[in-house]
């Protein structure tokens, strides 16, 4: 099968160091992966191509790149699944949201700094038992779903928040934090919640789902972030825009059967937050112009009592 690899190159040492695409025409087996192709390019065609890769079986996390614009591991991405329909082309670029060092190699230093920032080690208190800590198997099985994160950075590459806000801890570090919060042996949850509740923490995720889509190990970082939000609020951290937003969302739907958007915005920021309220004026004007201003009086929907019953049922099950 003839495949055209369109690879983004960057040589920091060349006199005109700008990134550009280079094409490699390769004859590949139907069962080949994108990594097979890249390895053959660097071994047979162009030794100057640099990329990180090692295990070839989706466990070391070295070879996260963007294939056709989306992050993933080159080693478990089959060529046949990502070929363009027209010209048998595959575009390979370095992972996003991290500075490029050379070709497909990016600087992971910012990534590791964020992992380190969540203090990713078990912090038990009290006396260490002589044998193992006792822990229910189902808790451990649940954690295994997060421990299986290989820190490849695919989620960080495609995180839509990190693209605009480098302060965000990001999906990988937050999932790592969840792994300790959810560990029955760890006694530092209160301290962890405090950090997670701060700027750059759990409230900065926009729930775009991108990290869930691109994660090659099914870790579902966004789901972990949402679970952390709940726990942070349960721990009493309700005085943030995010927590107020979540609470008002529930209140509104529970009360009227649908969302009162005006109230949601005001409650999330806080009515006495004059600066934020003034900041909202341009938005209100723009909404007015396109006819998207919610009605002045927020009426209950017909049959609202049914909605309330759903809430009661869910709450009684908690």
């Amino acid at each position: 099968m003839e495949v055209k690899f369109n690879v983004r190159r960057y040589d920091p040492e060349s006199t005109d160091a700008v990134s550009h695409f280079q094409e490699y025409q390769m004859d590949m087996d139907d069962s080949s992966t994108v990594l097979d192709g890249l390895i053959r390019i660097r071994e047979e065609v162009d030794g100057t191509l640099s990329l990180r890769c090692s295990c070839r079986s989706a466990i070391c996390g070295s070879c996260a790149v963007r294939v056709n614009g989306e992050a993933g591991l080159a080693c478990n991405t089959k060529i046949i699944d990502v070929l363009s329909e027209d010209g048998n082309t595959i575009t390979v670029e370095p992972a996003g949201n991290l500075p490029v060092i050379k070709d497909l190699v990016v600087d992971f230093q910012p990534f590791w700094e964020k992992i380190r920032a969540v203090e990713p080690w078990l912090q038990p208190e009290g006396e260490v038992p002589e044998t193992e800590y006792l822990a229910p198997d189902e808790d451990m099985l649940h954690l295994a779903g997060v421990v299986s994160c290989i820190l490849c950075g695919a989620c960080v590459s495609d995180c839509t928040v990190m693209e605009v806000d480098s302060n965000f801890l990001g999906p990988a570090a937050l999932a790592k934090s969840y792994r300790f919060v959810g560990d029955p042996r760890d006694d530092s949850a209160q301290q962890r919640f405090k950090t997670l509740n701060e700027y750059g923490g759990v409230w900065d995720c926009t729930r775009c789902m991108k990290c869930v889509e691109v994660c090659p190990k099914g870790v579902a970082p966004m789901d972990r972030i949402m679970a952390l939000r709940e726990q942070v609020m349960e721990a009493g951290y309700t005085n943030t825009n995010g927590a107020r937003h979540a609470n008002e969302f529930i209140n509104s739907v529970k009360h009227s059967g649908w969302l009162d958007e005006k109230k949601l915005v005001i409650k999330s920021f806080g009515i006495f937050n004059i600066k934020a309220m003034i900041g909202l004026i341009p938005l209100a004007i723009r909404s007015q112009r396109v006819g998207k201003v919610p009605p002045i009086f927020h009426k209950n929907i017909p049959g609202v009592e049914n909605v309330r019953r759903i809430f009661e049922k869910v709450e009684s099950k908690k």
Partner: protein, 558 residues
């Protein structure tokens, strides 16, 4: 020039365990690794880690005997006994550090069965135990604030008057070459799988540590003992954990027969790896294979069980062989997996070169002898990693730095300049492939005199070609082309020592099976073969008797 008490080369389980234990004792420790620690190949260990815990009614002596029998009586029994005695505390230590481990109904650590053992004593984290443990040790390295030179490549060891006093290394990101002075150097650089093609090993497993040690006078021991894992995926050669058979998988031939019932009536699919690989190869050679493979069947375990205990390998089979194990059997074949041999070291990691230690796959203690039991490799890395760190930390307290300066890097700098100046010619890729293919053909599951002689000739000719190898990338920043070329040099030395050792052992034992000499010869060969280099660079062979304590060699049956 950089200065440390202890420099540890490699940041897998052995290296990080060594670093933690040495740091705990107050030593100034630095770890250097050519990849970030969590990219290390310890990741690939899927099935688990063995330990005989007394509160489970198990006994370290039983574990020791299974290991000795597994080694085909080539393992040193004093070292094996020590490893098995310390196994429990290492597993518990990992649990205390944060490893999750699957549990039993009481919330205690649960076990699964593994090959060549009479008890289920393998502790595990689903089927990614190595990754789970590796990440936990990395977490502890962060917690301890231990220094790691990430993505630095070690070029050579520094030896003065027969003593090791540091290393020369290159920052991959900048190409900068630095001399590190150290009172102790611990090799924890892993295995050499890439010497063979194909191999289950990661691309980074290029025998660097073995070769670095060999070049400064350390001996390589048991190098002929190369493990072929019984279950690697057709085509890609990707590893399918022994956990599959531990959980009850069958091996089937083209007649749909569970052929292991015939060869190993007691242990069946869970006989030792060397045994199962030979049986598979025999079935294939005698025409009962399917396209060079046999089948691994887990369908009878059911989807729920498979997804709870074997989720990663189910994914691997889907990703790399297009097979859903829940629905159909997977074609598998024996594949090169592990090097039992390595830098000869004692139970404290000391090699024959003062100041130089070795632990983990790079070392040969020898606890695996002719064949390693599944789930003993993680144990080996932790026990001997920790012990090396402790011994080195004590040693450096009363040791002075050797007189080393920046000129120690001159030879490496010259060598690299020479490589970069080579005319356009063959590059490393084809040379490595030819070496790997020759090694597989002549030093595979079955060997014989003529084949091995031919193999040695091929390695010699490949080595000649490598002298004029061409490096296309002339840059300083992340020049992986140069690194692969340097690795090729390491691999060729390892290949030679494997070939020479194999041709020397005139018997069949463990993974070393000769069709022309099919019997084990205890009268002459209860000894290790050591390969070393004399001062003029000439290869020397020597021998060391196997240490036998309580367990006399008997005929090995499963």
């Amino acid at each position: 020039m950089l200065d440390h008490d202890i420099l540890i080369i490699g940041a897998g389980l052995a290296g990080m365990r060594a670093a933690l234990s040495a740091k705990e004792l107050g030593a100034d420790v630095a770890v250097v690794s050519k990849v970030h620690p969590v990219r290390s190949h310890s990741n690939a260990a899927q099935g688990g880690i063995n330990a005989a815990l007394t509160d489970r009614g198990d006994d370290w002596r039983d574990h020791a005997y299974d290991t000795i029998k597994g080694s085909d009586f080539l393992g040193d029994q004093d070292a094996i006994a020590l490893m098995c005695q310390e196994a429990g505390s290492e597993v518990i230590a990992m649990e205390h550090m944060g490893a999750i481990f699957n549990r039993d109904e009481d919330g205690k650590l649960g076990t699964r069965a593994f090959g060549g053992q009479r008890e289920a004593r393998t502790f595990f984290v689903a089927d990614f135990t190595g990754q789970a443990l590796l990440h936990v040790l990395y977490e502890q390295i962060l917690k301890a604030g231990a220094l790691v030179y990430e993505e630095w490549f070690v070029l050579s060891l520094i030896v003065r008057d027969g003593k090791c006093g540091g290393a020369v290394m290159m920052d991959i990101r900048s190409g900068r070459i630095e001399v590190v002075r150290a009172k102790a150097v611990i090799l924890a650089a892993g295995g050499l799988g890439r010497v063979f093609e194909p191999s289950t090993n990661a691309l980074i497993c290029t025998g660097d540590g073995m070769s670095l040690g060999y070049r400064v006078g350390a001996s390589l021991m048991d190098m002929e003992m190369v493990q072929y894992h019984p279950t690697t995926l057709k085509g890609s050669g990707v590893l399918i954990s022994e956990a599959a058979r531990g959980e009850g998988a069958y091996l089937l031939n083209s007649d749909n027969d569970r052929f292991m019932l015939k060869y190993a009536p007691e242990f069946k699919e869970l006989a030792s790896r060397d045994v199962v690989s030979r049986c598979e190869q025999t079935e294939i050679n005698e025409g009962r294979g399917l396209d060079g493979c046999v089948l691994l069947d887990v369908r009878h375990l059911g989807e729920k069980y498979i997804s709870e205990r074997l989720s990663q390998i189910r994914e691997l089979a889907m990703d790399f062989a297009n097979v859903d194990m829940v629905k159909e059997p997977v074609p598998i074949m024996p594949g090169m997996h592990y090097q039992m041999g390595g830098v000869a070291a004692n139970v404290d990691g000391e090699t024959g070169v003062p100041g130089l230690y070795a632990a983990g796959e790079v070392a040969c203690v020898s606890v695996h002898g002719g064949n390693r039991l599944g789930a003993n490799s993680l144990l080996d890395t932790l026990v001997f990693g920790r012990r090396s760190g402790v011994h080195a930390a004590e040693m450096v307290k009363s040791t002075q730095h050797l007189s080393v300066d920046d000129s120690a890097a001159d030879d490496d700098k010259k060598n690299i300049q020479k490589l970069l100046a080579n005319d356009k010619n063959e590059s490393f890729g084809q040379i490595r492939l030819d070496m790997g293919t020759a090694m597989k053909e002549h030093f595979g599951v079955f060997r014989d005199e003529n084949g091995m002689r031919e193999g040695i000739e091929k390695i010699e000719s490949v080595k000649k070609r490598a002298e004029d190898v061409y490096v296309a990338d002339k840059g300083s920043i992340f020049n992986t082309n140069l690194l692969f070329t340097l690795e090729l040099g390491f691999m060729l030395e390892c290949a030679e020592s494997i070939a020479v050792s194999a041709a020397t052992r005139t018997e069949s034992r463990g993974a070393h099976t000769r069709t022309d000499l099919p019997d084990r010869d205890d009268a002459n060969w209860l000894k290790h073969i050591l390969v070393s280099q004399d001062e003029d660079g000439e290869q020397e062979l020597s021998y060391k008797d196997v240490v036998i304590t309580d367990w006399e060699p008997v005929v090995r049956q499963y």
